[in-house]
């Protein structure tokens, strides 16, 4: 009832106010008549404006009406001091913008990475595991079918494996990436092609049985000129005519974080795109990257239990291929096989960092507000004196804070919008394929940003809250004097506290940046076990051009001869895979003469198929035995070169040369031992690995490694000419050094360093501004004291020291606090740090140095200004 009456009042408040005024007027006139004295009547009536306010306040305690007034006053106040307003809004915009940008990246990369895909909240990544090995493995097709048959808690299994081809249309050949998918793919993720159809059940069965493809909207627009009659047309992909059966909707990029897919083919075409032998019936061939969609209400743990039970049955049913193999489910944001997994630690740290930046920005603006509220103390005092209560004042001040943070939030969202695609820029460019790591600004991000804005408002509101609670009517009339050394002044602890907070937070960020930089340096300086300079690599996409093995071998031989004949080339070798690249090495269960594996383990080792002279070309030392030669071909005795880690593990100190090794049912003779090098990641530990001659396990379209003293650009043109001479339809991929390859593989670390560096620099700047502002203010407030000291004979250097020491004391307190927090928390960076202690003295030392220099710079100007003051004038004023 009361609420309804309040509402009625609210909608008729003008009339109500008029009526109240009228009846109070009547009251006054009656009193006048009674006493005959106008002034006496007024006295008896009391402050009628206040009464009217109070009467209204009975109905509208929330003061909805006064909010509008507060907003107007707030805007007027901000306009009156534009310097303050701009600085405050800028600080907050940076703080809120950094938050919104990181939120949008996390949303767009980790939580809702796949535009148009339905039910992403129930989507999980699924991989294999191998007992005794960290990380994940891919899954074989037969295993996946068995999981699909036996798991009751899963709605759908979606297979997706990224691959590439060279798409030749008209006179343009372009590297294009696509996915090998299960036939249920489009139906399961709820994406419906805008033209034609998705894949039909059964299209993922058989060897090269269903050459059909669905193309992306972008590809359809750019390469097929949006041909409305595209469905049913043929397109040659990797040498096989595919029928285009569908066009995916605009904005659908597939299901791989980081790269947008341009076409999709069913799993039956795997042989054509994956290379190697037919894998759909091979339980030992693990090549699938996959997702599952859980049934509604099923938790990851429940599904994991069921999967593990099925995996265990597979272990007993198929010991030869599945012994020691498990299945693991991952939340989408931890997906290990795409950029979600690689960016997760970076984004996690960024989240903490942007909160710090926001806190620093808030502390800065808080300090500005404090200084200003000091200047506005007179206004506040007057308002209290004429009867404003404190909550009313506080409401006004909080409204002003809200205006600041709302403007900043708007600016922040703009910043986030501009930064949507900024993450991609931090990754090294690759010829041919464009990376996409879009931030997503959806309602969740907006809600979070609004929350951040509210938190900022509350933090800012704390300052005036403390301020107004201290208004002392009597005391405010006396002028207050504060001093640099006096220290006991009322609000100085708050100002100092905010500065100490800023300094400690930015010190923390500096330490973090230092640790990451050093870690990156260590990674860059790491010896990968092969030459990083003077070795170039590239590839020619023979498979995309439809070469069969026989033609490819001829081409390889001819190209090798031509390149070797070029001036400045030391050596050239082919290899199926390149170290540290996305493409995986072959791997196979092995058996070794005289080695008895533990009962529940099936030793599996990765290997590479390489041409003659590969080790010499790569600069991988050969420890004993010999390299492959041209004589190690299809008809010769199958041979292998193992690395020393493998020799140590499986031959236990015996010389493996001349011993035998069984791979995929074939016995190979070990002819050499190579030194261990890095294979998949520069950070991996030494692990067993072996090489087989490319000719004894051939694959079309191998990588070309070239050792030369000439620069890459020179070789690139000559190489392109030679390839063109052999086949006018072919062009080599970009030619890069192995160092570039390492840089690409360590890009997550570099992204982390860059981001933290930028935000750390921002934080340092904000903190320096904060320190400068406080020092300037302190000096201006204690000009009388300083003047007095000067008049009493203190010289300039003494004053300089006095002021500087105050600022440096604040800095020291901040550094000590920051260092304490850093020592306790940098271990959380664990995963991003490589061979750097979280307590690394160099990182702490350089952070200290940078902070000190910044603090000196921030304190010097105000201090210097203090010494320039004219004591006579100050004391006279």
């Amino acid at each position: 009832m009361r609420l309804i009456r309040r509402l009625l009042y609210f909608f008729r408040q003008r009339r109500q106010a008029d009526e109240l005024a009228e009846e109070m007027d009547f009251h006054r006139q009656m009193l006048e008549q009674e006493s005959g004295d106008r002034h006496a009547a007024s006295r008896r009536m009391g402050a009628s404006t206040l009464a009217r306010e109070d009467a209204r306040g009975v109905w509208l305690p929330l003061r909805l009406d006064s909010l509008w007034q507060d907003l107007r006053v707030g805007f007027r106040m901000l306009r009156r001091s534009p310097g303050f307003s701009i600085l405050a809004i800028l600080c907050l915009t940076l703080g809120i913008g950094a938050n919104a940008a990181v939120f949008s990246w996390i949303e767009g990369i980790l939580f809702r990475p796949y535009p148009l895909v339905a039910h992403q909240e129930r989507l999980l990544a699924i991989t294999g595991t191998a007992r005794g090995e960290a990380g994940h493995t891919d899954i074989s097709w037969p295993d996946l079918l068995d999981l699909q048959k036996n798991c009751t808690l899963v709605d759908a299994f979606i297979v997706t494996k990224i691959m590439g081809t060279t798409l030749s249309l008209g006179d343009r050949a372009e590297r294009t990436i696509g996915s090998i998918v299960s036939a249920n793919y489009f139906d399961a993720i709820g994406v419906h092609p805008i033209l034609g159809r998705g894949f039909e059940p059964g299209e993922d069965v058989g060897s090269n049985a269903h050459p059909v493809t669905v193309i992306s909207y972008q590809l359809w627009q750019s390469r097929f000129k949006a041909d409305p009659a595209i469905i049913g047309k043929a397109q040659r992909l990797n040498g096989i005519e595919h029928t285009i059966v569908g066009v995916a909707p605009q904005g659908f990029l597939g299901t791989f974080v980081g790269w947008g897919m341009q076409f999709w083919v069913p799993a039956s075409m795997e042989e054509t795109f994956e290379g190697g032998e037919y894998k759909l019936e091979d339980r030992s061939a693990r090549w699938i990257e996959s997702y599952v969609r859980l049934k509604p209400g099923v938790s990851l743990q429940q599904a994991q239990r069921e999967m593990s039970a099925v995996a265990q049955r597979l272990e007993t049913d198929f010991p030869a291929t599945n012994r020691g193999r498990g299945i693991k489910l991952w939340p989408l944001w931890q997906t290990p096989f795409n950029n979600a997994g690689t960016l997760l630690p970076t984004l996690g740290i960024m989240l903490a960092v942007v909160v710090f930046v926001l806190l620093i920005a808030c502390a800065n603006v808080g300090n500005l507000l404090l200084v200003r509220s000091f200047a506005r103390r007179h206004e506040m005092t007057v308002r209290v004196a004429v009867g404003a209560n404190r909550s009313r004042l506080l409401q006004q001040l909080v409204t002003e804070g809200l205006i600041l943070s709302a403007l900043a939030a708007t600016g922040g969202l703009l910043v986030a919008h501009w930064c949507r695609h900024a993450l991609v820029l931090l990754f090294p460019a690759r010829a041919g394929v464009a990376m996409t790591l879009p931030g997503e600004i959806d309602w969740r991000v907006l809600a979070l940003s609004a929350g951040v804005c509210l938190i900022a408002t509350l933090l800012l509101g704390l300052v005036p809250a403390i301020q107004t609670s201290k208004i002392d009517l009597a005391g405010a009339l006396k002028s207050e004097m504060s001093g640099v050394v006096g220290g006991g002044h009322g609000k100085s602890w708050l100002r100092s506290g905010l500065v100490v907070l800023q300094v400690s937070l930015s010190f923390l960020l500096l330490v973090g940046t230092g640790l990451l930089m050093q870690s990156l340096q260590r990674i860059r300086n790491l010896n990968p076990g092969f030459s990083t300079q003077g070795v170039l690599f590239t590839a020619v996409d023979l498979r995309g051009a439809g070469y069969d093995p026989q033609r490819a071998k001829t081409f390889d031989d001819e190209l090798l001869e031509r390149i070797q004949a070029l001036p400045g080339i030391d050596s050239v070798a082919f290899a199926r895979s390149t170290p540290l690249s996305y493409g995986s090495f072959s791997s196979s269960p092995i058996a070794v003469d005289g080695y008895q594996p533990p009962p529940d383990e099936q030793p599996t080792v990765q290997y590479n198929q390489v041409g003659p002279g590969y080790l010499a070309t790569m600069g991988i030392p050969l420890l004993s035995g010999r390299e492959f030669t041209r004589a190690d071909n299809e008809t010769a005795l199958p041979v292998a070169i193992v690395n020393d880690a493998m020799a140590a593990q499986y031959w236990r100190g015996d010389d493996p040369i001349g011993k035998r090794l069984q791979v995929k049912g074939k016995w190979l003779q070990v002819i050499g031992v190579a030194k261990v090098s890095k294979y998949q990641s520069v950070r991996e530990n030494p692990k067993p690995f072996f090489y087989v001659p490319l000719r004894q396990d051939f694959s079309v379209g191998a990588n070309l490694n070239i050792r030369t003293r000439l620069p890459a650009e020179t070789i690139a043109t000559e190489l392109a000419r030679e390839v063109h001479a052999l086949d006018a339809n072919l062009a080599p991929y970009e030619l890069i050094t192995l160092q570039e390859q390492i840089d690409r593989s360590t890009s997550p670390q570099r992204v982390a360093v860059t981001l933290l560096g930028v935000l750390g620099g921002l934080a340092l700047l904000l903190a320096t501004i904060g320190l400068y502002a406080v020092m300037s203010y302190t000096v201006s407030q204690s000009s009388r004291e300083l003047g007095l000291r000067m008049a009493l004979g203190a010289d300039a250097s003494k004053l300089l020291r006095l002021v500087m020491s105050h600022g440096l004391a604040l800095t020291a307190a901040g550094v000590v606090l920051g260092a304490a927090v850093a020592l306790a928390s940098t271990r959380l960076m664990g995963n991003l740090l490589y061979k750097v202690s979280p307590r690394d003295p160099l990182a702490f030392g350089s952070a200290f140095l940078v902070m000190t220099v910044a603090a000196l710079a921030a304190c010097f100007l105000p201090a210097w200004r203090a010494t320039r003051a004219d004591p006579a004038r100050i004391l006279r004023d």
Partner: protein
């Protein structure tokens, strides 16, 4: 400012309600009535009276309508509602209890 401020909290509301038991009055009339009955002890100013009246209206204990005053001017008359009568009775009882309690305490002092 009116002396109503020195009353026990809530007493002013009760006094206003009681002054309306014999029929509708306008604001000035209420103030006059209280002053007369209390022999000039209770001189309620508008800064207390009008917020109190608004409070009573908000609670639904009085209603108001505009009418002509004794000297033929427009004035707002307040009238007790049924809920207001019930409230007054309750407050009367509570007030009596309170006075007895206060008297007991004071007589012991």
């Amino acid at each position: 400012m009116g002396k109503g401020n020195d009353l026990l909290p809530g007493t002013l509301d009760m006094l206003v309600l009681s002054s309306l038991t014999r029929g509708a009055r306008h604001g000035y009339g209420i103030a006059q009535h209280l002053k007369k009955i209390s022999a000039d002890v209770l001189d309620v100013g508008e800064s207390s009276l009008y917020p109190a009246l608004q409070r009573l209206m908000l609670n639904g204990w009085v209603t108001s309508e505009w009418g002509a005053s004794e000297n033929n001017r427009r004035a707002r008359y307040y009238k007790l509602t049924a809920a207001g009568r019930k409230q007054l009775a309750a407050e009367n009882k509570e007030f009596d209890r309170m006075i007895v309690a206060i008297q007991k305490v004071m007589s012991c002092a």
